[in-house]
Symmetry: C3
Subunit: 463 residues, 3 copies
């Protein structure tokens, strides 16, 4: 067996028993996936997923960054190739290096999928590489493994994608207009049109205007075009925006100031500071629009994108070379909070890659401001130890009810059940410790476990 029924529960027998009991209460609750990077096209087209390497290795930067760190080249893994020429060979390299993932969540997610979905029970290694390749390939060609079938098998209730304001959303429309009843919704991620450093920014802004019939060379036209785009998303069920800025900085400029800044931005004459200030101002603008139209804001700051210059030049974005940076929230969010912090109708969900901010900044902020909620441990911290640290650092100041349940944030559709299962097990383990140490009573722990697994996410994301 690759995965054990009692995995991730604490060793102490009394604590483990309570954790298991709590987990039994939540294990079968539907999955809500309010933030992630799957593609609506998969479900609109319902084509079979491709071969094992294309499914598990190529799209998963958690996987290939580890292989790369140990000397496997991206050429060997055929990263960046649309069609793998030697996918069995790529799979073999992966299998041979699978021991590198010992002690990582990636290993546990993969083993979950291998066993639960594909019935594999022997460990992946060089010797079993072909067995895996053949078994997975075969299953992928069956109807049970089509995207829609898997969506249902995973017991998904909502699945949100992440989309550019320039996206046609045609696949979302196709799903909506189909006979298939599933709630797959877009998320409004405006980085391509609000971040002057984004590839093709000027062109993106122009296209945003065309789509809306607005002149985006003026501040007013630009804002109108953004509102138009948000409405387009909302019509297809979108309930949230997402903002992946380098920092959490916000601004609250006067009319004259932002109009002048916008002119420099559009003209391409703004320097680095001006661009940062523009992003900062745009977070406040987005908060203003959220108050109008009810979209929940998500702020994901603090990733130094494309840190590996040579790989970026050769392979582009998302090749496992984004590195977290020190991030501050207390001063950075002040302008936005000065303006809208006390609004009870606004919800802003904060994420971080800098765990030192959990107890120092994020829990105190979220434990005070009515508009703030804390997103789950993100990216590198979406892991057993990361989840424990999150609860241990955040709960005593912000409680459970200023957090918003789990996000799988995945590009790997097949990992969704494994990730939610891990989160549920870790939350139940944390709660069990509180119970066994008489810091919380068991009936309350059951209620909290269900809230963390299901209720809080629906409420926070207005689903």
């Amino acid at each position: 067996m690759l995965i054990h029924p009692e995995r991730l529960f604490p060793a102490d027998p009394a604590t483990r028993k309570i954790a298991k009991g709590l987990y039994e209460q939540v294990r079968s609750l539907p999955l809500i996936s309010p933030h992630g990077h799957t593609h609506a096209a998969w479900f609109a087209r319902n084509d079979p997923f491709p071969d094992p390497a294309k499914l598990f290795v190529q799209p998963d930067h958690y996987v290939f960054r580890m292989l790369y760190s140990q000397g496997v080249s991206l050429e060997e893994l055929e990263i960046g190739q649309e069609n793998l020429s030697e996918s069995r060979k790529v799979w073999g390299i992966f299998a041979k290096h699978y021991y590198l993932f010992r002690g990582t969540p990636t290993r546990m997610w993969l083993d979950f999928a291998f066993q639960e979905l594909f019935g594999l029970e022997e460990r992946l290694r060089e010797r079993t590489a072909d067995l895996y390749f053949d078994t997975i390939s075969e299953k992928l060609s069956t109807p049970e493994f089509l995207p829609r079938a898997l969506y249902e098998r995973f017991h998904l209730e909502v699945l949100a994608t992440t989309d550019s304001p320039l996206d046609s959303l045609d696949h979302h429309k196709a799903i909506r207009d189909s006979d298939w009843k599933a709630r797959i919704i877009p998320t409004f991620r405006p980085d391509p049109v609000v971040d002057p450093d984004f590839d093709g920014f000027a062109e993106n802004v122009a296209r945003l205007g065309e789509k809306a019939g607005e002149d985006t060379s003026s501040w007013n036209g630009y804002l109108k075009a953004l509102r138009f785009a948000r409405d387009r998303f909302r019509e297809l069920g979108c309930t949230a925006t997402d903002h992946g800025h380098p920092t959490a900085r916000t601004a609250d400029l006067s009319d004259g100031e932002y109009a002048a800044l916008f002119r420099r931005i559009v003209a391409g004459t703004a320097d680095a500071q001006g661009k940062e200030l523009f992003r900062a101002q745009m977070l406040t603008e987005m908060a203003r629009m959220s108050l109008e139209d009810g979209l929940v804001m998500q702020i994901h700051p603090g990733s130094a994108r494309n840190h590996n210059r040579k790989l970026h030049e050769k392979y582009g974005r998302d090749v496992g070379a984004d590195i977290p940076t020190r991030t501050g929230y207390v001063d950075a969010l002040r302008p936005l909070l000065d303006r809208y912090g006390n609004e009870r109708d606004l919800t802003i969900i904060l994420f971080t890659l800098d765990e030192s901010t959990y107890s120092r900044e994020l829990a105190p902020l979220a434990g005070h401001y009515p508009c703030l909620r804390l997103g789950p441990p993100w990216w590198f911290h979406d892991s057993p130890e990361g989840m424990l640290r999150f609860r241990e650092h955040v709960t005593e100041t912000a409680g459970f009810y200023n957090t918003v349940g789990f996000n799988d944030d995945t590009r790997a559709f097949l990992s969704i059940p494994a990730r939610h299962d891990m989160a549920r097990r870790m939350d139940c383990s944390f709660l069990a410790k509180l119970v066994v140490e008489h810091r919380l009573e068991e009936d309350e722990a059951v209620e909290v476990a269900r809230d963390l697994a299901y209720n809080l996410v629906k409420k926070a994301y207005r689903l």
Copy 2:
């Protein structure tokens, strides 16, 4: 039962047994409260405490910040009103939202007081709100619940308040001159007269001079007036000063420099940098005076006060909107330490809201400089997990004997026994782990437990 006799002890049976054994050695030791925000007036007047909402909700920013974060308005809670018009209603709102405190120390402190002081054993919730309100109201009117009776019941040996240099200290005098024998002493907190950003700073400095018969428009007169005020506090038993600066920055200017700086400060022409430099220099001046008069210094840096601008404008200070900030000690303290760091007759107790400094900066500094000691986990970190992290991060470099026992730091008099009890349980839990892992022998753990609960605080604060 709201609280369990084995609460907070580790789950593992062997460890729990040792923790309980250690706790039995310290549970009944007298309480020393060397730092807090109770009022001498309560004990001078010995009037009954007011109704439940006024006692538990209104003054406790831990309580109402959590309610506020979840959409309860300060108006509903009647914050800022001298007399509550509908205290039963306020209590009802609190009871209805009591589930928000699950997993927080506030919940454990409150349950302790509810059960141990008021004999309540059913959980607080909407249904039991009136039962609580009536029970507490009734008891508060009995002689056993008068401030002096509670002081004795709590087995307090010393209780320090925190006071402005402008305070008349009349209530302290009244206690001293009364028949009642209790050690309630002031702490010298000069922020109102050394922090140029403090409300009414210029007027405060002038009043400081009047009280001392000194001209505080000159640097010498100002220092003399401060010495005068310190002496006034010392006469009433004060053994410590307290400094709540935004940062830990210190300075060691030349005579000419600080005289010139002081002139700008008094004239109100100093900019933000000048004000920061003045606070920095004043820490060094306070250290100099401490060497003369023996007062122990406490430095509490790193809180961004009044972060919520609108609430500050409407309700003033201390409404739950102070947020910790990143804090540095290594460079900041250097000027003071260059001057006085090797003085064995000086004691400076450092606190932090930035836990990342525990192992990186504070433990290494306190494990070297003879004048430095580490205060207990502060404010948001005065919690079970916070206490464990403190010991885990600090002990291996600074040992136990460079720490100073517990501070309750509370405005909520009734929470004092609960807070000390939590600290004793957590320290015994930490020590039990060391014993069960054969990192410390049991006879030594007993000695350390008693030192942490009682001896170290007396020594550090010179009580």
Copy 3:
């Protein structure tokens, strides 16, 4: 008994059993000590070690910094005196204050040496001071306690010292040319000739040139002299360099820029920024040379050396007054990584004193760049809790195979077995937790335990 056979293993019986089982697999593996501060002279001369105080107190800044922090003066400890006048008295002071080390790794290292090497089984305290002094003194005069005998008794396979490029390495040569077969190798630590703030920098650079027959007043001559010195080290078995810079900053200047900068450095006209830039550039130059000659780089940034000005003036370096500082890697390493980050033939081992960088910066960087590996927890973090935190923060992102096993980094030769034993116990404890929580299977844990104790260090340091 001072030390318990099950020390440091987790309390939970099932976990402890697994930890013990893993430890049995690694306890007897040879010791590899690839980074430390012992002296080749000890082994070249093979003279007896001096008396107890000279051996355990005087050279160990972990020991005397703690005593100093509690008011023992360096005069009383006769620090800085070549020959102790009253070594029994110094030992007595140490014994009397031995309780200060409760809960520290120093205590565990010392107890290990006292019991395992000297057969002492009663605790060190005032009453047993003479017993200890006499027992240790007597044993030190026996042949079994000569340096070479201890080297063999410790089961050392490799022992690296740390040496200036100006060192003659005569002692290393003497060992090589002796009949005694031991692998004691130098490490190239160029700080004295690449850090313009190092005492005697200009003279050091001149001497570097003389030794190599190069004119080090020119950039080319300087680089050639460095290459010459590296070759000299490599001939004596050196496989690594070591860099103790204040920060992790690197640079990649153009030819013209660094030639101009070098002129200012040599002329002594560079300001603080220029010096920092020079150190930054030199890390990149060292990486370039490492690609040529195969030496592994170690970067140890982030210590504020000689923080206590008065002690530095009186006693010089290494008196327990080096304090960690906040350290950043993401931007700091970028110039070097832009140039050489993707080289699979380069190995750079990163260390930190800032634990907040483990999960935020170091694990993500090492989990991506092929040239990067993470050194073990360093200095203040070379402790049970420090080791656990390292694994907990690093493993989920970087795995085990981007780490490099243990460094004892010690000046105290007799502590080497205790330190490696502690590391092996803590790694086995960490692995046991993964096994008992079904996050790793037991056969894999055995393999990882052996890799962490023995294989990874040989591979990383190319031994």
